[in-house]
């Protein structure tokens, strides 16, 4: 099952997502990047509904968001700040909900606001629910990760400390989830932009 995690720290947001693409019982691809880079300081991890058959919706919507955020940046010379980007994305999901064919995709949006120097993390689901949170997770893995993060998360943690907490979550998922993903992609966004991290 698709799983993603995210947490904020001191001046950064950490996002992790699994890298598997599945068709019934087969792992079709094991190095999928499910964290899109929407702008120099905005990351979005996308995943499908837990238990549902893998849908094309997730990629379609993620790319739609990526291209529109980029268009805004090109048109207006500055990128959308994380809170405004979150509102736009939520609005798109909410409008899709009451259409003929709603998108079925859950998102974690992590960004660094370069005008106020603060990290922001948003949890969004396919119904258009939007909440700003210090840490979040989607998928079956969330049942394990959220309790661990409740206990160990520190909003003022350094990158190393944040990665240590993330490793705890991933280890727990590997240990306890029947169909646990093997590999994860981890990305971090801070004042210097986006970079990938090796766990």
């Amino acid at each position: 099952m698709e799983v993603s995690f995210a947490m904020t720290g001191k001046g950064y947001v950490l996002l992790a997502a699994d890298t598997t693409a599945v068709h019934s019982i087969i792992k079709v691809k094991t190095d999928v990047d499910k964290i899109k880079e929407l702008s120099p300081h905005l990351l979005m991890a996308y995943s499908g509904e837990p238990g549902a058959v893998v849908s094309r919706d997730t990629v379609q919507f993620a790319e739609y968001v990526e291209r529109n955020i980029r268009l805004y940046q090109i048109r207006h010379t500055y990128p959308l700040r994380p809170p405004s980007a979150a509102s736009w994305i939520r609005r798109s999901l909410a409008e899709s909900l009451r259409s003929r064919n709603p998108y079925s995709v859950n998102l974690l949006l992590g960004g660094y606001d370069t005008s106020t120097y603060t990290p922001h993390l948003y949890w969004m689901d396919y119904l258009g629910t939007l909440v700003e949170v210090p840490f979040a997770a989607h998928g079956y893995g969330s049942y394990f990760a959220l309790s661990l993060l409740d206990r160990y998360h520190d909003p003022e943690a350094t990158v190393e400390e944040g990665l240590a907490v993330l490793r705890r979550c991933l280890d727990e998922v590997s240990k306890r989830l029947v169909v646990s993903p093997g590999k994860y992609k981890v990305k971090i966004v801070d004042k210097d932009g986006i970079r990938e991290v090796e766990l």
Binding site: L80, W88, S115
Partner: protein, 238 residues
């Protein structure tokens, strides 16, 4: 463009911590009912200066009916942006929206263009205080200080001489009133002929605060600056 050069002038000056907008009213008279303009600020609509959003104030020069239509469009555009992005519309984006509309009227439909020039004074977190000017062609540009309407040429050159980059809010108010008194048709400044507005940042909440002055406030301000500014002007130039 002709109509605009005969319309009452609108003057805007950018300072470090705010923007000042002043306009000369052409439609006045004893019988005119001014009670509507007694509430400035929120819901602000004067004859020349309008609030477009909590972070943008605009001054118009030209055909009044066209101006009202554009102001209404701008207000809707600002709210549409707030609806989608949950943030105050950035000033340049609002200027662009209006200019896209104005440009459309020069290219499609065989309709006549809007005979209005606007000065947009606004604040957004990206570029702080900004002043834009747009004309009927749909062209817009950013300014530190500028003027539209009657005698705008004179006012513009006066502003060019007097404006300094690090001007304070008080200095800007002072400059605006001095230039207005020079370029206005009437001999002295008064609240019947002058519309005045400022856009500053609230010191605690850090939110933009738009203030369209009520007639009584304009009179008080003029008293504070010295209504008889005209006599001192001749010495100022040396």
């Amino acid at each position: 463009m002709e109509a605009i050069s005969h319309a009452g002038s609108v003057l805007g000056v950018l300072s470090k911590d705010g923007i000042v907008l002043a306009a000369e009213k052409k439609v006045t008279g004893k019988l005119l009912d001014l009670s509507g303009s007694n509430q400035g600020g929120y819901g602000g609509s004067g004859e020349k200066i309008f609030m477009l959003n909590s972070n943008v104030v605009a001054g118009v020069a030209g055909i009044t009916a066209d101006a009202n239509s554009l102001v209404n469009y701008a207000r809707q555009a600002a709210q549409r942006h707030l609806f989608t992005y949950n943030e105050d519309i950035p000033v340049e984006v609002l200027a662009q929206r209006l200019c896209d509309l104005k440009q459309g009227y020069t290219q499609y439909g065989g309709l006549r263009p809007f005979g209005v020039s606007l000065l947009y004074a606004g604040y957004d977190p990206h570029y702080n205080f900004q002043l834009y000017h747009s004309d009927p062609s749909g062209n817009y540009s950013g300014w530190k200080a500028t003027c539209v309407g009657a005698n705008s040429g004179t006012a513009q050159s006066l502003l060019k001489q007097e404006y300094k980059d690090d001007i304070t809010m008080d200095g800007a108010i002072d400059l605006v009133l001095r230039v207005m008194s020079k370029t206005m048709d009437s001999t002295t400044l008064g609240s019947e002929k002058l519309e005045f507005a400022t856009l500053t940042l609230d010191p605690e909440t850090k939110q933009p605060k738009a203030r369209i002055y009520r007639p009584a406030e304009i009179d008080a301000l003029l008293q504070k600056q010295g209504l008889g500014k005209k006599e001192e002007d001749t010495e100022m130039k040396s």
